[in-house]
Amino acid sequence: MAHVHDHDHPHNKPLSDVELRVKALESVLTEKDLIDAEAIDLIVETFETRIGPRNGAKVVARAWTDPDYKKRLLENATDAIAELGFSGVQGEDMIVVENTDAVHNIVVCTLCSCYPWPTLGLPPVWYKAAPYRSKVVKDPRGVLDEFGVSLPEDTEIRVWDSNAELRYLVLPRRPDGTDGMSEGELAAIVTRDSMIGTGLAGAS
């Protein structure tokens, strides 16, 4: 992989345990002829450049502007998302939950790091970390506070633990004052965190 020298990490530092373990695994899998280095590079490149939260933002913007699409999305998310060309690994069976004035949804995987890859890409580090996973099912308002989100006391909170085979995407509430915006402009204000439920759309 190309190594661009515009950063300042020291090159004489020993590798971390995780880096060593990954290198050892890659070596043994390559020697056993189970993987091919070019295949691994392509997987990394795909998730670094092609699949990410911009996909989910397009789904959200379509749902905000097309009531029929939104209806299909809430009834059969997997098929509705595939209409826009997004499907595959870790998005085989999708559920979309809608945020409204009365209800706020948040997604977690308490058992590991399950996450809808085709629409959101790979999960952020905090999503996979124990502090988020253990706290959000017990004190979601506390977690929202850490993310700078404050909701009225009478807003119902729904936490979705994607412990099994379903993967969840939050349809955030469309911000006020966006009536004149195009679908493309709307997609630009949909953040990754707003589709996990730890943020609101339109917030930076």
Binding site: I40, I51, G88, V159, N163
Partner: protein, 117 residues
Amino acid sequence: MPTLTKDVVPGLIATGASCRIDEDVAPKFKPGDAVVTRNINPVTHTRLPRYVRGKRGVVERDHGVFAFPDTSAHGGGEKPQHVYSVKFSFQELWGEDHAGNMYLYIDMFDDYMRPAS
């Protein structure tokens, strides 16, 4: 095992591998049913997290039939069964001092639940 080569990667990423099983298995529960999750403590793979064991909830939605990870993860067969979205109140999970408008939804297999009496 075949080698994972570059040419199979795009198809693999685009299609994935659903654990959904196209088999006609009767559901043991239906939306609206009150259930209690089993208080079991497997030492092997399970998708029943400790914090929902032995808790009372309500079935919200039937997701259809899926392979059962508790057996399929160990070569014990797919044991196809229904998976449901089940709703628990925070008061049930964490205590009566929690707000009454907070809920946890989690996906439960038939084998994780029994009807609430």
